[in-house]
């Protein structure tokens, strides 16, 4: 026997191509327990008919790991940036009495619908050399020992998935400011703490002490609040402040 089931409405900001106009479409989704935003987008793809019974197209979105590890499905749900896969509809519905509002991240160029190009973040990672340099593929032997204390400091920073939440919520990361963003600053701090990565620490500090670096941080501390991986980003930003202070003093007075 068919019973009347609850349903909820999702308003999605859509855009057909990178230059196309933005428009909004509503979809009525039958309620099921345990839905997340990605499954909602799958339901829409299976039956792309809007609330006012017009045929539409499946909403384009990124998704990969589906367990908040890759960061691909980051979008703005009810005005709050997060991953679609871990945005449980039961919780999202509690945040609002009206329809669920879904938009792509605003700080990156839209490719289509909810898909954005996060190239700016990867360019920032390149600027701060967010890697450990190795000379070649020959056996270098075992690396330097890392104390458990250092590991405990480094591990949380290594969880960054470059999802874009921190820069989306950062009021300093915008078209008018060259700020590289909290994620890249934190990665610079991570690789400067690495015993092998240290070799490039001055090059990283030089970037942090240049335009777009730590001086462009405004201490709103939104980054640490929205980070889904609970990375201590403000610790990294303050450390970047300390390390660049000392770096510039060393540079001025001589080592």
């Amino acid at each position: 026997m068919i019973t009347m089931s609850k349903s909820f409405t999702v308003n999605i900001q859509r855009q057909d191509d990178p230059h196309g106009p933005k428009y909004s479409e509503s979809f009525e989704i039958p309620y099921e327990p345990g839905l997340n935003m990605t499954t909602v987008l799958q339901r829409i793809a299976a039956n792309p008919v809007t609330s006012d019974n017009k045929d539409s197209t499946p909403v384009a979105y990124d998704a990969c790991c589906l367990e908040e590890i890759c960061g691909a499905c980051t979008m703005v749900i009810n005005g709050h940036v997060r991953q679609a896969c871990s945005a449980l509809i039961d919780n999202v519905l509690k945040e609002t009495t009206g329809p669920i509002d879904v938009k792509p991240m605003s700080k990156f160029p839209v490719v289509r619908d909810l898909v954005v190009n996060r190239k700016a973040m990867f360019e920032s990672l390149k600027r701060v050399k967010a890697w450990v340099r190795v000379d070649g593929y020959h056996d270098l032997g075992s690396g330097p020992r890392v104390s458990p204390h250092e590991q405990e400091d480094a591990y949380p920073l290594s969880k960054c998935m470059t999802c874009g939440c921190c820069v989306e919520a950062c009021p300093q990361f915008n078209d008018k400011s060259p700020f590289i963003g909290p994620a890249a600053v934190s990665q610079a701090i991570l690789f400067n703490a690495n015993p092998t990565g240290k070799i490039d620490s001055e090059a990283r500090l030089e970037v942090l002490a240049s335009r777009g670096g730590i001086a462009d941080c405004g201490n709103s501390q939104n980054c640490v609040k929205v980070c889904p991986k609970e990375i201590p980003l403000t610790d990294s930003l303050a450390k970047a402040g300390r390390d660049t202070t000392l770096y510039k003093l060393r540079q001025f007075f001589g080592r």
């Binding site: 915008n174 201490n219 201590p232």
Partner: protein, 251 residues
């Protein structure tokens, strides 16, 4: 798009240094001056002859004589101008989202920029109204002595404050903006310079800066209340008979 010019690249090249200078100048001398200024002005509440203690404090400052103007320009006006100009650029380069993300830190971020603009407008209004700079433009109310050498510091200030009903509220908003901007700026500067790193130390610093701001706000509001309630009808009290000649001659 802004056309890349020589000055832009020069600014980009020295941006880190300029921002650290901006931070430093906001604390010393500008912030330090605000503390001295508000504490000095709060002496108008001191018991005894109304404005007597205040007059003595101001005369100590004016004892610098002809050096006072260069000291004011080099140690207050120029640092304040640099702090303001770079501050405006910081405001214009930020996009506050405090409506969307209502975290305490984000609201303080927005308030820091708002109070910066309010403080800028207020300070220039205040300088015009009180300082001799403002005289050609109809301001310049503050006089330490009248023609006869009698003490009128508190008197002239009080007259200027009581001139219209809206002046005292404007002063309250202006002074509180300056105090918030300094107290919150002190908190962020501890992060900027890398002194407080962990959330726990930043929280402790937050309490200290809040206490500092509250004390300074009380001093400022006390001073304002003192001038607002100052009896401008009675003749100015005469104190410090020798000071008048000392200040006019300078050091």
């Amino acid at each position: 798009m802004a056309h890349p010019t020589e000055s832009v690249s020069l600014q980009d090249k020295n941006y880190f240094l300029m921002r650290r200078l901006h931070s430093l100048l906001g604390l010393v001398p500008v912030g330090a001056f605000l503390c001295v200024h508000l504490l000095t002005n709060s002496t108008v509440l001191a018991p005894g002859v109304a404005g007597g203690e205040f007059q003595k404090s101001v005369e100590r400052i004016h004892a610098l004589g002809p050096l006072l103007v260069p000291v004011e320009i080099v140690f207050i006006f120029l640092p304040l101008l640099f702090h303001s100009l770079l501050g405006f650029q910081i405001v214009f380069n930020s996009e506050s989202n405090a409506q969307q993300y209502r975290y305490g830190g984000n609201i303080r971020y927005m308030l820091q920029r708002t109070t910066g603009i309010l403080a800028f407008v207020f300070i220039f209004y205040h300088i015009w109204q009180m300082h001799w700079f403002g005289k050609p433009l109809g301001g310049g109310a503050f006089e330490l002595h009248d023609a006869a050498g009698a003490a009128t510091g508190a008197m002239t200030t009080a007259v200027a404050i009581q001139q219209a009903w809206w002046i005292a509220p404007v002063y309250a908003i202006g002074v509180l903006s300056c105090v918030f901007h300094l107290a919150n700026g002190l908190w962020t500067s501890l992060i900027t310079w890398g002194i407080t790193i962990r959330p726990s130390s930043q929280r402790t610093a937050g309490y200290v800066c809040a206490a500092f701001g509250i004390i300074l706000a009380i001093a400022g509001m006390g001073a304002l209340t003192g001038f607002y309630n100052y009896d401008v009808k009675s003749p100015p009290p005469v104190v410090g008979d020798g000071h008048a000649s000392a200040t006019s001659q300078g050091l």
